[in-house]
Symmetry: C4
Subunit: 248 residues, 4 copies
């Protein structure tokens, strides 16, 4: 029988510690905007956008300087902790006006070492961004399955191969071990995290990842198009779905 | 073969009894706002909010004094009944403008004793708030699995340990027993509820909880951000997801 | 191996026949509004609503006289056909301003006899409205499971027991038989429909019903509340989820 | 144990090649609008729509000439690649004001041959549009299951039978083979594509298709109706769901 006692982060003390952690350095907390220099540089892109959004009554500036929502799912254990949070894709508007996915979305994981009772070292955290396909393998894992992902953050750069990250999820007696290893030949460091999680915590990860997957793929933007304006627009037409395959 | 006859609450009489029950004491019906004194006290918070929402054309006052939607899933059985309803998280806006989860959301359960034909004692009900992780264990339960959760409502207070609540879900011949025990050493009372549910009723609970989980985690607010304004904003950029892991 | 050829309704001819069928008698096509006399009678209710919705820029009148969306999932077979479509719950606004579910939502099924090649007798159709719990048993059915539901449309009336409807879903070689029997002692009639469906068609029904379930329960209205205005409203607070269980 | 290395399309080079591919010929990239001549021809339909949408503050013209969102899930392998993207249904507004599905939605697949390192021949791609029922069979496939679909793009035309398309998904050692064969007796050509996918890639397809299914069925438009205006509108009523089955 599975037994659960109230998890740590639900206590107000740890919650407030989390808030403090977020407050000063929010742009580092699984934040996907800080990595978008264009927001300060390309004013053209902004202005265009501002116009189109002004029509929709959205205050663009305010939006990007505030209202960023943070709701990571965090698992705190004795020696380490990790948080999981969706990182939405970015889109590019082409001259044609079409909008295409530019940078894919990910499920961002942040690992922290414990540095005292209910204290975790945010400064020395390590990040691992799960791609849609990696999320796909996570959500199909059975109780006895395990998976391992390898990332090279410097891939395609002169430093290719200098830093190696590997994330593994392996079954244990009553759940899984979630482990991250980061080998950095440039800094000559090796960092390891291992967080045991219960089947229930993994179930939350799987359900939340299944919910987030279409969003990090950008499919929610496709399905939203109709609610933004096409329903009921088309007069009757005899053309068939088959035409879609046929016409070119 | 599983057979179902029309469930009681679908009769207009019992539905109206439910309405009466809700009407006078709605703020107690799985209501998550009543536990937020700040709505009357901290006028600053309100005013700030009012401004930001006025921009979005939302009448804040009206919102909190009405329009609260109640749609609990209630299972009425001979000796007791329980209702299940999502309780959304609360968010805190930091000085930085970031919005972080303050109080986590839960799946709120309310248990009531039967006090006559189709009558249940709402006054003496007992509540049990399932955390995201507890919901995780519920939605992964197989036909033969069982789970048990323990809560101490006075945890971290001087009354710690004086009140113990335990919720258990255990398989029986054609479904599960959902039981709540509340031992209160302060009032010197022990309260027990046991509600047998069918596999179909449990399936509704699992499906509804899977739907609600991302919402009580606050992830729907994260994925909604884009629809609130980022799609198509970013000019092309060569930066990779990998950068997200690398940059600091 | 499962093989599928293009299903009938995808041909433009049958689609247009469907449109014709819908056009003249749309209010009968799984329409959930026609059964709400209050829309013509209780002008008070309307006006109140009109006011509150005018604020949201929604043209109430237009809404109820048009824009009704019909997208039933219909399975056409040799001897009969049935369609499946979600029927949203209705809500009641209490004096307190709270909104509670009045009439539960259902998954509405309409069965029709074949009366010629690709022709089905809409006039003599029979309806069966699956409750949330009945949907729960449908979506948990395994390949070898079967289920049967019994409804008495005149339940609680003087005609109780005069009409009996039973819907059964039973496995066959490569899918299921979906059968409806309606015995009417008042009209002295017995009507039977049996539609064989493939595993793929049942998969669509299960996935679509799982999607629709939270909506017919009204939970989408609960989770929508936050996006309608509470995110980021609450100042920090030390109160815990546990309080929710404790305070009364 | 399943191992994944970073997938090709995540490199900025291949991503930009994708953007270039999309830019000039966006209307061909799984675009569902190009097959709707009415947008240029039937001005009546447009104007009507424009009015109704103007009320909702949506710039109709802008919408259809831009803001089209493309976020296909693409699997690039050595000899071929395919992309998967939801194609929303079109709706028809009847004189009565009711909105019915005109052309069903599909999951559109585009297959391309490899013509060099990380180069795929978009010009000679072949399309295959999965119907809701075909999606149903895909999302219920177990690890050992396979399925095959046959389409005749010229069905019901004088060219019926001249072109045959068949899509098959068959299990292999660590995933599936997704294969498309197009035999065209008019052009006297036979085109074959075979793309091996991992279990993880198939999991993404299944999860994304499960998310998209209600949308291609148009059910999201049904469930959206309430949020567009009915919640809290109905005064109390004693009528039951059962009435829905009974009244005619």
């Amino acid at each position: 029988m599975l037994k659960l006692s109230r998890v740590l982060p639900l206590t107000s003390t740890s919650r407030h510690r989390l808030l403090e952690a977020l407050s000063p350095r929010k742009v580092e907390v699984g934040d996907c905007l800080r990595d978008r220099p264009e927001f300060t540089s390309s004013s053209a892109g902004i202005s265009t956008a501002a116009n189109s959004y002004a029509a929709k009554g959205i205050a663009l500036y305010k939006w990007y300087t505030s209202d960023r929502v943070f709701a990571p799912y965090t698992v705190y254990k004795g020696k380490a902790a990790f948080s999981l949070s969706p990182c939405l894709p970015t889109f590019t508007k082409l001259e044609s006006g079409s909008v295409v996915v530019d940078r894919r979305g990910t499920m961002m994981m942040n690992f922290m070492h414990s540095i005292g009772e209910r204290k975790y070292d945010w400064e020395k955290r390590q990040r691992f961004a799960l791609s849609a396909t990696e999320v796909g393998s996570l959500i199909t894992m059975g109780p006895q399955d395990s998976c391992e992902f390898f990332h090279d953050p410097s891939m395609l750069s002169s430093n290719a191969g200098q830093v190696r990250k590997s994330l593994s999820i392996k079954p244990n007696s009553n759940g899984y071990f979630v482990s991250l290893t980061v080998v950095n030949n440039l800094l000559n460091t090796k960092d390891q995290f291992s967080v045991p999680i219960t089947a229930a915590e993994f179930a939350v990860m799987k359900t939340a990842c299944s919910f987030a997957l279409p969003h990090i793929m950008g499919w929610d933007q496709i399905t939203k198009q109709q609610s933004r304006g096409t329903a009921g627009l088309q007069p009757k037409s005899g053309s068939q779905v088959l035409d879609l395959e046929w016409e070119k």
